[in-house]
Symmetry: C2
Subunit: 888 residues, 2 copies
């Protein structure tokens, strides 16, 4: 029974390894403040273990625990001199939930517990304030009725409002003791009506009712939903803090307030908070009265005329200031503190690390290092890498009202407004006349890439967080809302339906890739600021991290953006993306549709100079760094002509009729293209394609050398290998072309050959495969698809259900599935290094930009991760954190 | 150097562990016959290791080996008293290839080596037969010229034909010594012209030329192709046997022949062979003269008038008879023996296990057990399980000439003729008027199943050995040729092209599912006989095997066939196949297209009685055995209406318009259905479907119980699980329905719940998953697809290239990939049993009928395999062999 009930002054607490796990965040802090000598109302914590016992014991408390709780109640009585249910000096307590991490507003709290028809009189007598006592009692009935007895809150509120109307007053403060008396009676009647029982007069019955209700609120729908969203495990449970009540509503020498030790929005090192005279905590939160500023400075900044706490209660303010400074120093973090002043005496009810914007988080962390409060390591660990996203993309101005017409998945952050277009061509056309567009498609394909570039944002009706649209959009840094099943697109009429609204081509919409919202009309956006603090943190992170951070990029522009963000090379350059350009697609189609090797050769010769120039541009940007180039990977039919016009065009070029072209297109059709004729299987079937690509790479390298540009290390990557012999064959193809080009120019060209590990079999056969590989790059997108047997293009239909039902804790395309896919990565890393000690290991799936996955990569001992340009800073920070966590 | 050169009498041979690996099959047998005191011409074997050395030494023999060979040549000289190149008593030798396993006709042989312009005279003098000597010499030049000097054989043959024409004779025997003289000169001139060198007169030069040529023939195109087809590893190499020549062509007291100790076609225990008087071995094979029977009995049986060897050479025949009996007893197997009689002296040139039909193989094995020559274990191991196929399916009459118009993959054995139809409906229509049809489709889908049932055979233009068409056809026992890329189907004109020929609907074709041939017109077929010998072998096999053999079946008929063949239950009953019936498909479509749970319920209620009755029928057939029922697995859109008529039908039933139906169809479309919304994902999204299926199962079980039919053990299988929680959820769904039905009927129903392991993640998570599973069934089709990332529907495009190029040794959909997929099965088995010792493990993919895969399953310790009904006997035999091999 040692870990069940803790007095705030319990000496055991100091020895607890993870006090928050046992006591909850609030309880741990109360205990800690107690130890620091802060003015904390006496009380105790019922631990999270009791929550577990409660649920296992048919939602009842075992007798032994009840006994222990009663002992602690006695302790409070001893300390305060008050007695629970006493008719002279009654003890009132608060019963509050307190989980390991804060779940603001999700869980229940009961104040003023201990009042009944008798003790309320004693309280009135003792405080010499009848109105206050009655007010407390009605609050208690109201709260208890709602939380413990499940009576809807608006029924109580309605009675108060009615009463005020009848009396012709506006504010609660205008109600007197008689009003409360009347209302107390009505409240009790309501309780009787709703529960068929009288409002409990026995204070212990009240107490255990409250404890049960708080435990039960852990399983309330809103709490469950919140945990799902915040990835808080269900089994943690909540602790309960029982504390002697203090009152901020006993008169005008009382007040209650909330204060942050720094500005949680900007990070500025000034107090930031608000208070209310003669009020209880709930009044501050409820918003029925407008709270006032704490400091004179804040009051001045807000141009407010109301008196600040600093002015009206200078002595208490000075004490609060000392305590706030002490708390921040103690916790070494910005604190969010609740306080109450009862008859000029300051009580601290709660302290916790304050939530803050990412901008503030960075500034506070850097400032605290400067103030020598924390070291750089702590500063780095303080910042949630995922929040950096918001610093890099434009966001919607939150102050503006929005007409949301649909929601989808927040696939690529940032916000954008533009005219609705339904084709890539229209997006390009409007872009050329300087008009912003949002490309709306059922789903996108590689052919839409030029349109996605031209558009300011992308909205799709199908596809998940890692659908084509999502991945490409993130890569380009374009905002994207994907898989918005609420919209129905009608291409033929050039419109889409969302709810009851029809949006036509040319209408303006705004999408918010951070929230997944689709909004009618234009919403103003705020441009990202990359402040000096951000750079400072990045520099520190770079010094700590061991993983190299590369980027996935295949254009000069993306490469440049990534390098500016700190990328240390390219981990994935998808060569096929280079073929979608207007000039090239025709030649590429000719190549695919060739019946003979000769025809194919002609087409390949046309493509070679384009590809070479693309590589050269990228090599120049990435000078001095490694660049991994993946040879052609996707199934060929992705590139096929679709319209009759395109078919005719190709037929003309190939000098065959369009029927033959159609036949060939039909032949190339696949049932499951993801598992079809793609990757190295294309290289085996059509070696001339890979030969052309290698030639382009080597010629580009040679030209850079000739122009005395510091060389990149070209890492040629063979995709979709499942057996060592595939790589053996294609490695010798690469070597053969290298020799040819070296001989031609009489010069040496440096390069490596490796493969993607993106099939379970490749992972299992890593030992054999590594004999032919200078590097492995884990293609975790495809590896996740095959390990789970889930197509990310089709996962939208059920993955949401899976995550909502917690079948998957998290979308495995977003954060690496460490149990399944992760085990394959570990197997492949171990086996690969067994046979080839020098092998370089990296990851180039979408997971390369996910902090949890990056931590896994660091633990597994990979050499680098590669992610989309806009996630490079996130990856850098996450990689640094991963190293720092190893030391903890 | 100890394993390089072996005299036939070498004592070392007896100590060799695997003499065939070193000496080749022929060499090992020659040595063995030598030891047995048989009349074997003296000689030696150059081992397979020398072949390896030869290739590693730039295709030359190292000096030391040459020295050793010369020592052995001296030994032959000593033994025969003849000398190599001697002008009085010249030694002639044969140089023959001899690999580990026989590769008939693939590798080169040179006879009569040692003849030149001088020794030919000595030979003539010594044999007193000038014509014979000259004939030998011209044969030698001809053979050597062809094999060693690479001169095309027809050039020599042409000269002989010309000469005969000029002389006005028909047979070689009509040519005299002068004719041969003239031809020898012309042959030598030809050699000079073609090689710019004289025909080698130095006998040692001849000898080493021959040895090199034989080694080189290992890498000839035809040898490589043969090895590929027969799965013989390239690295084995060939041995070479050098043997003193004996002559069957020295006069009429000479002969040569080939004899089997039993009839290789029927297995009957009588000699079966043929011989030629005054001839060399090649004459028997070449077919220029018609050989005669060996025994009087055979002569009589064949109604031949030519004298048998038994009559014409009674003494030699008796000696041969003794030797044949001795050889068979020694080798304990039917022998295929080559012999030569030289001036009444019998020489045995070669013995080996004779090739035989599967029918003969079974009879011989059973007979030999009765004769106490071998035990039952050996008998079982003698039979290649795969050949049993030919005993179960009708085959084409080989004597009839065929017009082959295309080839495809031999996807399902058996042959069938019928009218070409292009739709399942037409197949059904013609079937109802008793007409045989061949269903020709680009590929088939589950909707074609009724047509596949109605047709006598299936031909597809796309899809591999495990495509839908192939799998279903094998399951039904329907012949099928799949992936015949040589045909082009034109549905609109109801015809297909093959080569230049156009085949219209209604034209008759024949398909041979054993060879993959598509033949114009009708070819008569031979019906399978299951003889008593076959049953005997099956009974023996059943006694030895440990694996249980189940079948994949979902109809009463298939279940019955399988049980007759010895199936011990059903390992996979695919419930979705039951929905394709005309009556049901509409209800099923209603269900899929329902927008609300209520509409879906209505459709499900209609389906329930059908499904229940189907189960009941199967349960009756399988009474007393386990039946594994897989709940709905494939993506729903496979079932969708396709034609406008079907769409209207569904729209009418659902009381919505057809546009809405189309929209819903579009919504259900998937990019990669194999990785989409299917398997247990359907059960999670639409629990009511699985609930209906469980209800049908439990009601069927209850009704069987009520009718006092011995119960089956129903094993309810949840497909496509990737995480334990999926199974946890669905297991409780099953239990919930079970409770409901048990309560309804106040009776207890026995059942188990398990899952398919068909995703790599499921294999890796087996420990967690096994907590909720009574059994695992490895779905190796899908597991192969995901492990390799290869869709079997699309693999046709490249898998053939992969196998031809030996990137894959064998199609992983045909024989289990033991390295990759096999490792996952081992991992899953180990981990599954770790957490659940009682778990039952089986396999239900196509591999369940593949002998090599079955051996793997036995080694891995699975409990059962499940295969299509027609493969049950194969599986039984393979399972017995697997156990017996463990003991070796």
């Amino acid at each position: 029974m040692s870990n069940l009930i803790f007095n705030f002054k319990d000496k055991k607490i100091k020895n607890l390894k993870n006090p928050k796990n046992i006591l909850g965040g609030k309880g741990a802090n109360l205990a800690e403040m107690g130890r620091l000598g802060m003015p904390v109302p006496p009380g105790f914590t019922i631990s999270t273990e009791v929550c577990d016992i409660f649920y296992k014991n048919k939602k009842k408390l075992p007798k032994q625990i009840i006994k222990n709780i009663q002992l602690e109640l006695k302790n409070i009585e001893k300390y305060t001199g008050k007695k629970f249910g006493d008719l002279k000096n009654p003890l009132l307590v608060s019963v509050r939930s307190g989980a390991r991490v804060s779940m603001p507003g999700m869980m229940d709290t009961i104040l003023n517990l201990g009042l009944n028809d008798q003790t309320v009189k004693a309280l009135a007598k003792k405080t010499l304030n009848v109105r206050f006592a009655k007010d407390c009692y009605r609050r208690f009935i109201q709260m208890y009725g709602n939380v413990v007895l499940n009576i809807e809150g608006h029924l109580f509120e309605g009675m108060i409002d009615n009463h005020k109307l009848n009396k012709g007053v506006l504010l609660d403060t205008e109600l007197d003791e008689n009003d409360w008396d009347e209302l107390i009676q009505r409240f009790k009647d309501l309780v009787k009506k709703e529960t068929k029982k009288n409002f409990p007069q026995n204070v212990l019955e009240q107490f255990y009712g409250a404890v049960s209700a708080v435990f039960l609120s852990w399983e309330s729908q809103r709490a469950k939903t919140y945990r799902k969203l915040s990835q808080i495990p269900d089994h943690w449970g909540t602790a309960i803090n029982v504390q002697s009540m203090v009152f901020g509503n006993m008169g005008n020498d009382c007040s209650t307030g909330v204060v942050f030790t720094r500005n949680p929005s900007t990070g500025e090192n000034i107090f930031y908070g608000e208070y209310l005279i003669n009020a209880q905590g709930e009044d501050v939160v409820a918003g029925t009265r407008t709270p006032q500023h704490i400091t004179k400075k804040a009051k001045a900044a807000a141009n407010s005329k109301e008196t600040s706490m600093e002015e009206i209660m200078p002595k208490v303010y000075q004490e609060l200031k000392r305590i706030l400074e002490k708390l921040e120093k103690h916790y070494k973090d910005m604190q969010d503190v609740e306080f109450t002043v009862e008859n000029k005496k300051l009580w601290i009810l709660q302290t916790r690390s304050g939530k803050r914007t990412s901008e503030a988080a960075i500034k506070i962390a850097v400032d605290m290092v400067k103030e020598k409060l924390i070291n750089k390591e702590k500063a780095i660990l303080r910042i949630d890498p995922n929040t950096l996203d918001t610093l890099l993309h434009p966001t919607l101005d939150k102050k503006v009202k929005k007409k949301i017409i649909a929601k989808g998945l927040p696939a690529s952050p940032g916000a954008a407004s533009g005219k609705v277009v339904f084709t890539a061509e229209e997006a390009e056309r409007l872009n050329s006349v300087m008009q912003n567009t949002i490309l709306v498609r059922v789903e996108t394909s590689p052919e839409d890439i030029h349109g996605m570039h031209a558009a300011k944002g992308i909205l799709t009706a199908r596809g998940g967080m890692t659908s084509h649209a999502a991945v490409v959009a993130r890569g380009m840094g374009r905002p994207c809302v994907s898989g918005s099943t609420e919209i129905t697109i009608d291409y033929s009429n050039k419109e889409f339906k969302a709810g009851g609204i029809i949006v036509k081509e040319g209408d303006t919409i705004t999408i918010d890739g951070a929230s997944g919202e689709v909004i009618l009309g234009t919403v103003p956006t705020i441009q990202p600021k990359i402040s000096g603090y951000f750079l400072t943190i990045m520099n520190w992170a770079n010094a700590f991290k061991k993983l190299k951070i590369r980027t996935n990029a295949e254009t000069e522009k993306d490469s440049r953006v990534a390098r500016e963000f700190g990328a240390e090379g390219i981990g994935l350059c998808r060569t096929e993306h280079m073929f979608f350009d207007q000039e090239r697609i025709l030649s590429f189609r000719e190549m695919i549709l060739s019946k003979t090797k000769e025809d194919r050769s002609k087409a390949l010769i046309k493509l070679l100079p384009h590809q070479k120039n693309d590589f050269k541009k990228i090599f120049k940007v990435m000078s001095g760094l490694p660049v991994t180039i993946r040879l052609l990977d996707p199934p060929l039919h992705e590139f096929l002509p679709k319209t009759q016009k395109e078919i005719n065009e190709v037929a003309l070029s190939l000098k065959i009729n369009s029927e033959e072209v159609k036949d060939r297109i039909d032949e190339l059709h696949e049932q499951n293209p993801m598992l079809g004729h793609r990757g190295c299987r294309l290289g085996i079937s059509f070696p001339d394609i890979y030969e052309m690509q290698c030639e382009a790479i080597f010629e580009a390298l040679f030209e850079c050398k000739k122009e005395k540009i510091k060389s990149v290390t070209a890492e040629i990557m063979i995709p979709l290998v499942s057996a060592d012999i595939e790589l053996k064959i294609l490695r010798s193809l690469v070597n053969h072309i290298a020799k040819k080009i070296q001989k031609k120019h009489q010069t040496k060209i440096e390069y490596m050959v490796g493969t993607m590990i993106e099939l379970p079999r490749a992972a299992l056969q890593a030992k054999e495969i590594s004999k032919y590989a200078d590097f492995f790059s884990f293609g975790t997108n495809d590896l996740t698809q095959t390990t789970f047997g889930i197509s990310r293009d089709d996962s939208g239909k059920f993955l949401k259900d899976y995550i909502n039902n917690r079948i998957f804790e998290i979308d495995p395309f977003v954060s690496l599935d460490q149990n399944g896919v992760g085990e394959l990565i570990k197997i492949a890393s171990t086996r690969g290094r067994q046979a080839n000690k020098k092998i370089k290991l990296g990851i180039c799936g979408e997971h390369g930009g996910d902090p949890k996955s990056i931590e896994f990569c660091a633990k597994t001992g990979l050499d680098y991760v590669s992610c989309s340009p806009f996630r490079v800073p996130i990856a850098i920070l996450a990689a640094a954190q991963a190293e720092l966590k190893k030391l903890i």
